[in-house]
Amino acid sequence: MSASPDTPSDLSRRALLGRAAAAGLLATPAAGLLGACATSGSDDKKDDTQAKTNENPLGVVKDSPVEVVVFNGGFGEEYPKFDKQLVEQRHGLKVDLKFTQKIKTELQPRFSATPPDLINNAGADQMGNDVLANQNALVDLTPLLDAASWDDPNVKVKDTLAPGTIESGTLNGKPYALNYVYGVFGIWYDAALFEKNSWTPPKTFDEFFTLADKIKAAGIAPWVHAGKYPYYMGWPIMDWIHKLGGETQAKAIDNLEDGAWKTDVVKTVVTRVQEMVTKGYVLPGSEGLSHLQSQQSFLDGKAAFIPVGTWFESEMSSPSDPKDEREPAGGRKIPPTVKMTMLPVWDMTTSDKMPYGAARTYAAESWLVPAKAKNPNAGMEFLRAMLSKQGASKFSELTKAPTVVKGGADGVTGSTALTSINNVVKNVGSNTMIWRINDWYGDFFTGHQGPIGELMAGRSNPTKFMDEMQKLADKIKKDPNVKKQSR
């Protein structure tokens, strides 16, 4: 090493190190502190793009380095490696692919200066997209959406996406996030158990109540939910509100309108849900169970219905984490006799605004390009490869989960659960229910769990619930630190 001709002399190296350390000392406290001075020097982004062609609509620089950070949860590490090959083959990009479960812990400190070029912001330790958007920390993904798709230069990327995908990543009026995984929320039951007892899955709340008495008589709790995380119960409650009250009611709530939570629609829904609790149709103790514990209780035949999304089967067939206190005591296990089947939320009344079969589809698992990324175009190019037919079908093949690419769910079969999910999605048709409030306002997501938890624990009532939710919405509306959204 020391023989190398371009090694600086000892003295100068030491001086250099000393100066660097001193600079570091001064710079560290200053970073992010004195806003006025700190901005200098950080916005000198070079405009090194190349000519934009059909092959290369984003003008990616050949052989340039790009850093991609992926959350390695249930979807594993195989699919990004495949997409990495795609961009390497086409542009020779040097992809530095990194995996972590600690997205926020590792990336938040890097955001103000040296963030990666593409982030899969997901998992328990994810950053709030609303927070990032409000601090102008993200790149507007419009160039990607308007670019030609990977497979067909005549079709734009945005035209290959399932309806609702772009909206689900839109914050402050701009598409800052691209959600990659497509899914649907519903209510699950065990078809085998129902056949054995010749029970018919209910299509209305009245049918559910009639059936619930029979289920209870058979020694099974009709309903179980992840009470430790009340937003799980928030899904069916919000969906029932949407189904009964239609888009007007949903928009009113999303837009934080005055009195949106104090309507007859909300009252009807909450009254019926409370009935489930007071009539003892909910597994005693549900209110303290984790998602995994409640799901295992369902699979063990202790309860007949549970509200979960598309991922239920894959989550419960993944290996347990023995260090996680949320695991069920005996680990996760799907008994071979269970035929997991998903239903859309049942009708609230005979006069719901939306017909039976309406369900909330969603796009989740967001991908972001940070505003301070060194090679943002290459980050978007990686996303474009993920949205190719090859990339999407590889993802579904590896993970058994559909993507937001149109027709991306078609190839996903192999179990009663997946078949029933496909049925629910097919039957939704144009009756998709949309909620944005949880993505728009982290405060709502945190706050709405209190009233729901209290309702499900039997410590609340419809009036109290509506008051608390309205108070929460009003508080967000009045908070000068929260940017308002609307649709």
Binding site: G285, G288, G453
Partner: protein, 313 residues
């Protein structure tokens, strides 16, 4: 060589001092400076907002509720832990019937010491998993299952433990259930601490007391406790700091990480949410500063109040 003394000492101190300044003092200083800005954590832009964050603290209902929950732990945790630890330590060391062998602990005290100390060797993660299984809220929870089996509990209404915000003696039940865990986890350590201190008290003092006909209760209050004043005082400060933290327990064992419905929020969970969920780092820094001042005051008051003359033996 006298003239070279200070550079010589400074030479040794420079490196550790630099580390101390970089990794301890400078983050503190940064926190104080950040607390006067609206820094959001994800950009290098921040505006100076003066004392606005501190003014906000005074109006923040959640922060006030959290403060009172910390105060509850501040009072209850040292009180219960120290009392129990002293009681057990006394029994284990001098509580046995003094026979010919002189002063000794109750029968089997060696075993008890190990048993009581055991939680101290478990990592917090394991303790959390353990108690989560004990406190599980349905019929499959260990405590619920047991109580239902022996007929003390209606299977339709299992205990809700850390999921229950209804007040008991004016304090949400969830905090009492957490208190049990933290006391359980810490009593062993202070038992050993007090045991060591008790063993350094000369046996002749006890023997003299016994000859004078002192009962065990008398011995404890007239001899043991006064001679343990220093240890107890230190324990009180340590436990006080633990009570100001409580983050792990609340975060891991309560629904909604501070719930249900904010019934178990403490300083640290509110601060964590402001900074890492809501991206209000400036405001969170102000909370941190307030908390640090509070902790320093507490320590100062505690150490001053318990300062006494030391007995040499």
């Amino acid at each position: 060589m006298r003239h070279g003394k200070y550079p010589f000492i400074a030479g040794f101190l420079a490196a550790p001092l630099a580390l101390y300044v970089i990794f301890l003092i400078s983050p503190y200083a940064q926190t104080v400076m950040n607390s006067f800005t609206n820094w959001g954590g994800f950009s290098n832009q921040a505006e100076y907002v003066g004392t606005e964050n501190y003014a906000r603290l005074l109006k923040d209902e959640l922060f006030h509720a959290a403060l009172w929950h910390n105060v509850f732990f501040l009072v209850a945790l040292p009180l219960v832990t120290v009392t129990l630890a002293l009681f057990f330590a006394f029994l284990l060391n001098v509580g046995g019937r003094g026979g010919r062998a002189g002063v000794r602990g109750v029968f089997g005290s060696g075993l008890y010491k190990v048993v009581f100390f055991f939680p101290q060797v478990l990592s917090v993660a394991i303790i959390v998993i353990l108690w989560d299984a004990l406190y599980r809220t349905d019929g499959q929870g260990l405590l619920n299952w047991l109580l239902i089996k022996i007929g003390l509990l209606d299977p339709l209404h299992p205990l809700q433990f850390t999921n229950n915000p209804t007040p008991f003696l004016g304090v949400p039940q969830v905090l009492w259930w957490l208190l049990i865990i933290v006391v359980w986890a810490n009593v062993g350590f202070y038992l050993v601490l007090f045991s060591a201190a008790m063993q350094s008290i000369p046996k002749d003092i006890y023997e003299a007391a016994m000859l004078d006909g002192a009962t065990r209760v008398h011995t404890f209050f007239r001899v043991t406790l006064p001679l343990l004043r220093d240890s107890v005082s230190v324990a009180w400060v340590y436990l006080g700091f633990l009570a100001l933290d409580m983050f792990v327990w609340v975060f891991a064992l309560t629904p909604q990480q501070g719930g249900p419905n904010h019934a178990s929020e403490v300083f640290a969970t509110v601060l964590f949410r402001e900074a890492f969920t809501r991206g209000q780092f400036g405001y969170a820094c102000a909370m941190g500063v307030a908390m640090a001042v509070f902790a320093l005051l507490l320590g100062a008051v505690q150490l001053t109040a318990t300062r006494r003359e030391r007995i040499e033996f």
